[in-house]
Amino acid sequence: MAVDMRLPTFRSDSRSNSLFDRKVNKDLVVPGDVITTDTGFMRGHGTYLDDDKLTASVAGEVERVDKLICVKPLKTRFNGEVGDVIVGRITEVQQKRWKVETNSRLDSVLLLSSVNLPGGELRRRSAEDELTMREYLQEGDLISAEVQSVYADGALLLHTRSLKYGKLGQGVLVQISPSLIKRQKTHFHNLPCGASIILGNNGFVWLYPTPGQQDEEAGGFYTSLEPVSLSDREVISRLRNCLLALSAHKVLLYDTSVLYCYEVSLSQQVKDILKPEVMEEIVMMTQQKLIEHEG
């Protein structure tokens, strides 16, 4: 077996990097810090009132919208909002509903009445469907879905009433922090490098080979079991490593950043992308490319 050995090197301090020379002029607070003693403000997330003093309860940055003061922590579990695209895993099959793990603080709910069953939109859901729920989705299956509403306790109600959503077949799941996913008009992308990506708002990213012909009849429950070609698998593995590299350096993820990172990484072998020094170089080049094309 070939062994890869490297000599210890100094880890360069990312703070001294010229790209990051910008000064942070954010209002950073830690738990227990008094934000204001003025009573004219409204208390938002991440704050509490301690004898009329508005106090932070998490470590993060203060956000002010008019009279509302919130503190946004650097890293949290996923806080879903209506319309978010999520990728999740079925944990339980119950009566008329599935429980879905979505990196949220409670498991999300997918009702039988809010999925598209095979055989068209307007099919009635019978008692028989309830009994065969496990045939559509069973424990451990991955799905993509959209948030339909949020319950009072923070649990999410999902739906898959569109052909884009449904069960996920062959591909790779990458879990990263939800705060790194950039909110966009669409979270489904067919990347020109030959693979597709679903950037779930909950930090679950699904990489899969770009499907050929969509089967309308299956209603999102059809999963292809065709073998995936080696070249496709290589592209997907490279994308996965790129995603890990970007998330390790806290770069926002969206189609352009992922694609640029992929292009930059082409000079390296897939497995080498995960080496810290290569990772740093690739991420730096990606950021440069992003800045050039933005400005």
């Binding site: 703070r15 509490y48 949290t76 579990r77 603080r105």
Partner: protein, 245 residues
Amino acid sequence: MAGLELLSDQGYRLDGRKAPELRKVQARMGVFAQADGSAYIEQGNTKALAVVYGPHEMRGSRSRTLHDRAVINCQYSMATFSTAERKRRPHGDRKSTEMSLHLKQTFEAAVMTQLYPRSQIDIYVKVLQADGGNYSVCVNAATLAVIDAGIPMRDYVCACTVGFVDETPLADLCFAEESGGGSSLALALLPRGGQIALLQMDARLHQDHLETLMEAAMTACKGVSKVLDEVVRQHLQEVSVLTGE
């Protein structure tokens, strides 16, 4: 006093500190990528690692679910190599169970559990090297981990052990001082408000001395909180520079 002289005539302790001095504290937040929050802390030669998962759906026994707040689940363990004599059971013995319970009580006082009904927050703490003040170091490590996980807390929880030797309170005891006899007191404090999250004392102490001991413990806890505060702010600054914009 039998055996060791814990406090010399010149007022120095075994490791060369003065009576109210803390040991050197070094800490790091966000040491693991997979956990929601994690932290590593060294207080002198005592080293501990804390990991936080959650808030998440109740796992295991559903019946423990609380409908108005989150359940805090703590597990304290000591690495087999952490003590001078190799431990046979890293966790689950009587002492660890008691320690887990103390940690749970401490964090129930500080974490705003009412914001997360029906969910569960897991705090796992492991002592990698034990040199006195295990409880307090674990509390400090867990505080950093909870902050790293972005879970709302009223304030930091800072803990410190204080001993009483020759009519003098000694802050932040090391193992030799802890086992050298004399009474010791462990205090977990919310430093800004001065509320006590947990107070523990297992030996006898004259009532007249309690006040001085408490005062010394409070000062020590506030000292710890200053160090933790610095660590958190440093971490915050670093990460927010990286995320940029």
